[in-house]
């Protein structure tokens, strides 16, 4: 691949939960050169009465791209940019069946995602960061949601595309998977791919998701162990 990885190698992942003290839950995640910060507030009182659902919690996702995130121009993107709204809606739909919203009627869960450096793979890093932040906030979920992208170039299936590869007209498929049960919650593609190639690309992306799950799970476990040791009362 362009950055010297093998075709089925993920970019290097670094993640850290609980980076913001004000938010109920937060996480910082880096996948290669893409960096994302997630903050979760909730469940808390709904801000607008119109969004109140009487038997579940309302999930609200907002994504913003920092003006310094793109390497070329310093451009301020507004929050209602069409592409960002689409990604936010995809993230919201991914998490709606997973978070146990029926436990918190009439309240609201806010997920704020901020992309600090952009190098491709926006949706996948947003979903991974949101998962980590929701776990940090103690919001009950069925399980982790891990997302990964894969593509196909000249009959080779490639895993975890960065920006240069995305821009080179490679068809890109983003998959969000529940690692334990193997169910898919999101399958998104914006380009054209031959139907025969769909299965190998999807399988490779699913493998990538499982690997990401291992990394995220290890981080969470270490963090939980550390905190429980610190907080054990006399």
């Amino acid at each position: 691949m362009v950055d010297g990885r093998r075709a089925n190698e993920l970019r290097k992942i670094k993640c850290k939960p609980s980076v913001l003290s004000q938010a109920d839950g937060s996480a910082y995640i880096e996948q290669g050169n893409t960096k994302c910060l997630a903050a979760v507030y909730g469940p808390r009182e709904t801000r607008q009465k119109a969004q109140l659902i009487h038997n579940k919690a309302n999930i609200n996702v907002e994504i913003s791209l920092a003006p310094f995130s793109m390497p070329q121009e310093r451009k301020k993107r507004s929050k209602s940019d069409r592409r960002l709204l689409e990604i936010a809606s995809a993230v919201k739909q991914t998490f709606e069946p997973i978070i146990m919203t029926s436990l918190f009627a009439r309240s609201q869960i806010d997920i704020y995602l901020q992309i600090l450096q952009f190098d491709g793979g926006t949706i996948q890093i947003c979903i991974n960061a949101a998962t980590l932040a929701l776990i940090d906030a103690g919001i009950p979920m069925q399980e982790y949601v891990c997302a990964c992208s894969a593509g196909c170039h000249e009959n080779h299936t490639l895993l975890d595309l960065n920006n240069a590869e995305e821009m080179a007209d490679t068809p890109e498929l983003t998959v969000a998977l529940l690692p334990m049960s193997g169910k898919l919650t999101l399958l998104q593609m914006d380009s054209r791919l031959h139907v025969d190639k769909l299965e190998p690309v999807m399988n490779l992306a699913a493998l990538g998701c499982k690997e990401i799950y291992q990394t995220l799970d290890e981080t969470v476990r270490e963090y939980v162990k550390d905190l429980f040791q610190k907080s054990s009362p006399y």
């Binding site: 609980s18 003290s21 109920d24 839950g25 909730g42 469940p43 808390r44 009182e45 009487h54 146990m100 918190f104 009627a105 009439r106 309240s107 776990i135 940090d136 906030a137 103690g138 919001i139 009950p140 979920m141 069925q142 399980e143 982790y144 529940l178 690692p179 334990m180 049960s181 799970d217 969470v220 476990r221 939980v224 162990k225 905190l227 429980f228 610190k230 907080s231 009362p233 006399y234």
Partner: protein
């Protein structure tokens, strides 16, 4: 005829790792460890146990085939007899009846106030649940309904007790005790609710001369010591908005105690009155402002841990 002595068989065919103490008793916890999930760290989606004899509590759910218990949060498994729960790290406050909480008024509506108590929804304080001035038992009148802002306006802080919860999950408070009511002469500090332990009383007076009110929802009020006896309180003045004059040394002490509590919460240590007292003594080495720096916080928390281990080793 030959006589055989039949020795009694052991009570249950226990495994090899049963340790009998000097009375010949076997620790029943060994059985739980064999089941192997007590105090285990779990993450969402992980199977806790495949044994369906247990009841599931908060933080767990049954999978579709109803064959195993799965955790839904990241935390530590706690087992009480047959009930399994998973306790996560940072949750919002979930109330229990009788808890003392501190809240801030967010809204004044028809015959009730909405109070923010760091929980999943704002709590409700009904007009019929407060002490009306002019005598403890006084029926509320129409005039009271129209003048609710005279009692509590938006932004006021108050101490109240958790009364109960409604069907939709919202909770109700009451202040029908002279100890509760509007808070004055002090400073609020917010910590994670899991760090405040339930104890006999939540109103403490520290030896340095300040009052600390530990709200179980994570809101802590540190204030000037009020030496007034409860019976002497003027019933008209319980809703006054005026602070008493607070001198400089008391203000410094209040600020120092607030910074100590902040240091304890950053390092995720439990907050009780004895721990705050230890932290206060340890912090006297630094000027008040420096307590916000990382090294000072580390020093204070290591001193407190040291003192706690000394106390524990005595027992």
């Amino acid at each position: 005829m030959s006589i055989h002595f039949l020795f009694p068989k052991p009570a249950f065919s226990a495994g090899n790792n049963d340790q009998k103490d000097q009375d010949g008793d076997v620790d029943m916890f060994v059985r739980a460890q064999r089941d192997n999930f007590e105090s285990k760290v779990v993450t969402p989606g992980q199977v806790i146990t495949a044994d369906t004899q247990y009841m599931r509590g908060h933080g767990t759910y049954l999978n579709e085939e109803e064959s195993s218990h799965i955790s839904s949060v990241a935390g530590v498994v706690e087992r009480v007899n047959k009930l399994i729960t998973v306790r996560p790290l940072h949750t919002r406050y979930t109330g229990n009846i009788g808890d003392l909480v501190i809240g801030r008024i967010t809204e004044v509506t028809n015959k009730r106030w909405k109070v923010d108590i760091n929980s999943r929804q704002d709590a409700v304080l009904l007009l019929s649940a407060i002490n009306l001035p002019g005598g403890v038992q006084r029926r509320k009148t129409e005039a009271d309904e129209l003048q609710m802002r005279k009692f509590f306006a938006e932004g006021d802080l108050l101490a109240a007790e958790f009364q109960g919860s409604f069907n939709d999950g919202s909770t109700s408070l009451h202040t029908r005790n002279l100890k509760y009511g509007k808070l004055r002469n002090g400073s609020l500090i917010v910590v994670p609710p899991a760090l405040v332990q339930r104890c006999k009383t939540h109103f403490h007076t520290l030896s340095c001369g300040v009052d600390v009110t530990l709200g179980l929802n994570g809101y802590i009020w540190v204030s000037k010591h009020s030496s007034k006896n409860l019976d002497e309180l003027d019933p008209e003045a319980i809703y006054s908005n005026d602070n008493e004059p607070v001198d400089r040394s008391t203000r410094e002490t209040i600020a120092r105690v607030c910074n100590c509590i902040n240091a304890l919460s950053r390092h995720f240590m439990c907050i009780t009155d004895t721990i705050i007292a230890y932290a206060y003594e340890a912090s006297l080495k630094y000027p008040v402002k420096d307590l916000l720096k990382l090294e000072a916080m580390e020093f204070v928390t290591t001193e407190v841990r040291h003192k706690l281990s000394v106390v524990r080793s005595i027992y």
